[in-house]
């Protein structure tokens, strides 16, 4: 059964920015599905449409078998949403946040009290339940956000970049929690992320989104298998030019050569065996190699292959760069 269906979604914002350009994908019940792509790829817009927050200009979307426009009210009852921005109320305590959320979803009295207590304990917030949420650490706030999304035991959970801005330890902890939700509670989870390793680890299927459409879809292994062979990176002593690429392309068994400043990337069936001939080809072209690395294909390479651009930290995660600066 398909729990989430997006069909040919299009949306253009005022001012002419086209966020979605015919986005389609389907998510099987009880699985974690990853939407992967850089900022501005359209992931968040897709989540907003599927969660009834926003509307597509055209196309169709169904969640839990319900149309997100015609049946918005029932869709809202079936889904849990953890948005990219924190949705908690900083001027309320953790407990008050959960209590209000429970009331809104129709849990009252003892039922509400039991559910709130259960979530506070499960997310390690029981000792901080009477502190204002604005005094929580980033990790605690994110856990409260997830708890808020789970109050009514939704069957479908949307996680929009849940780990952006979290430190690695907190991120790993949240990953374990997400895995548990899919496994123990048989939830269908749609996860958007620009961390390829996150999608690789959590999602059983994923779609790579670029400029508002899906450019590749499959299991992480399938996508990586598409790229036969290894990825080879060379660091040059000085910046290269097109000649370097030209020299490499002529070698047999080498493909997908690209040059970016001092970095040269190429793929070869057996990376280790290909390195000597590649180095000599580069040096014949007058380019000195400072270092060479061989790697098994990663989702980053898959992304590069399909989107035609690399997945560099400085263009994929501005938020993190700002935090670091």
């Amino acid at each position: 059964m398909k729990t989430i269906q997006a069909h040919n979604l299009r949306k253009t914002y005022k001012g002419g920015v086209q966020a979605l350009d015919g986005l389609s994908f389907e998510v099987e019940a009880g699985t974690i599905f990853g939407l992967v792509g850089p900022n501005g790829a359209g992931k968040s817009t897709a989540v907003k449409i599927l969660t009834t927050l926003s509307r597509a200009d055209s196309g169709e979307a169904r969640v839990a078998g319900l149309d997100v426009v015609g049946d918005a009210e029932r869709v809202r009852r079936s889904i849990g949403v953890v948005g990219q921005k924190t949705g908690l109320d900083p001027d309320s305590t953790g407990r008050e946040n959960l209590q209000m959320q429970a009331e809104i979803y129709g849990l009252h009295g003892t039922e509400r009290r039991a559910r709130v207590r259960e979530l506070l304990e499960r997310f390690g917030l029981a000792d901080a339940d009477r502190r204002l949420a604005k005094t929580y650490s980033g990790g605690m706030q994110r856990r409260l956000d997830v708890a808020l999304g789970l109050v009514h035991r939704p069957k479908v959970l949307f996680l929009d970049e849940p780990t952006t801005g979290l430190d690695p330890e907190v991120r790993a902890e949240l990953w374990r929690e997400i895995e548990r939700l899919a496994l123990d509670e048989e939830m269908t989870i749609l996860l958007t992320t620009h961390y390829l390793e996150e999608a690789d680890r959590l999602a059983s299927r994923l779609a790579i989104v670029d400029r508002g459409r899906v450019v590749a879809e499959g299991t992480p292994d399938e996508l990586k298998r598409e790229l036969r062979g290894d990825t080879i990176h060379f660091e040059l002593v000085e910046s290269g030019n097109g000649d370097a690429a030209a020299a490499l392309v002529e070698l047999s068994g080498v493909s997908d050569v690209s040059v970016d400043g001092r970095t040269v990337r190429a793929r070869a069936v057996d990376g280790a065996a290909a390195i000597p001939s590649l180095i000599s080809a580069l040096e014949q072209g007058g380019l000195k190699v400072a270092s060479a690395t061989v790697a098994r294909p990663s989702l980053d390479d898959v992304y590069l292959q399909h989107a035609g651009r690399s997945f560099k930290p400085n263009e994929t995660n501005q938020e993190e760069v700002e935090v670091a600066a």
């Binding site: 907003k48 509307r55 948005g83 949705g87 900083p90």
Partner: protein
């Protein structure tokens, strides 16, 4: 039932937030005192103007200050919505099955509560400095009710503008531009018969004036219940329209994101 329950949850949240800001409480309690005493001193000689029939100026002024406070407090209620939108709280509520009307009405309920308390402070203070409200408790209750009703109208308008503009500066600009002229195009500070003709004409269409004249009449020796009733009716209609506007504004917000 659900509408009430949701509204109560939203109201409780905003009330809690306000109770946790001691500075805000302090300012809201002191502000009515300053206004009443300052306007009272500034316009004291108004009572000497030939044709002034309002008795002591403080008695005349009190309903006007109550109404002005209601408008000024309600105008900035939309700030809460802008904060909620900026930090994502509003989006969380909008993807929940909460009754849409509760978002505005809950926030309005908090505003009305603050306005009722502020009004009672002003009235107590003016009693303390010697004012007599000839119509007793009933008249005072009607005045406080009118302030709350007017406040609810302006709070709803503020919320609607906040959702559409989503920028503090815009909201501040709109509120400043609208509230001061509305206050002065009314009989809040000056007896109706002493107003220039064109202001008297404009005041007919001014909700601030509706509340001011009805509130003043209610506290006078012989209230004009016909006037009070129709003004309450106008304000109630306006409240329905402005609450609908604030709630509908979310549709426009959701289309834009």
């Amino acid at each position: 039932m659900r509408a009430l329950r949701d509204t109560r949850q939203v109201a409780l949240r905003y009330i809690r937030a306000i109770l946790r800001q001691p500075a805000w409480i302090g300012i809201s309690l002191v502000q009515p005192v300053i206004w009443l005493l300052l306007f009272g001193a500034l316009f004291k000689r108004t009572a000497d103007i030939p044709g002034f029939t309002g008795g002591s100026y403080i008695e005349f002024l009190t309903p006007g200050v109550v109404v002005m406070l209601a408008v000024s407090a309600a105008g900035f209620v939309g700030m809460g919505f802008i904060e909620d939108i900026n930090r994502g709280t509003m989006d969380r509520l909008l993807v929940s099955p909460i009754w849409r009307g509760a978002l505005n009405l809950g926030s309005v309920a908090q505003a009305v509560l603050s306005i009722v308390i502020q009004s009672m402070i002003v009235i107590s203070l003016s009693l303390l400095v010697g004012a007599h409200f000839r119509n007793g408790l009933a008249g005072v209750a009607v005045l406080v009710g009118l302030a709350g009703l007017l406040g609810a109208v302006f709070a709803s308008l503020s919320n609607g503008v906040a959702v559409l503009a989503r920028q503090r500066e815009t909201l501040i600009g709109v509120v400043t531009m609208v509230t001061l002229p509305l206050t002065f195009l009314s009989s809040a500070l000056m007896q109706h018969s002493l107003l220039p003709g064109w202001i008297r004409w404009a005041a007919k269409f001014n909700p601030v004036n509706w509340a001011a004249e009805a509130g003043r009449s209610a506290t006078a020796a012989s209230p004009d219940w016909n006037l009070i009733g129709t003004r309450i009716g106008f304000l109630a209609l306006l409240l329905v329209a402005s609450a609908a506007f604030a709630t509908r504004a979310f549709n426009s917000y959701q289309r834009s994101i």
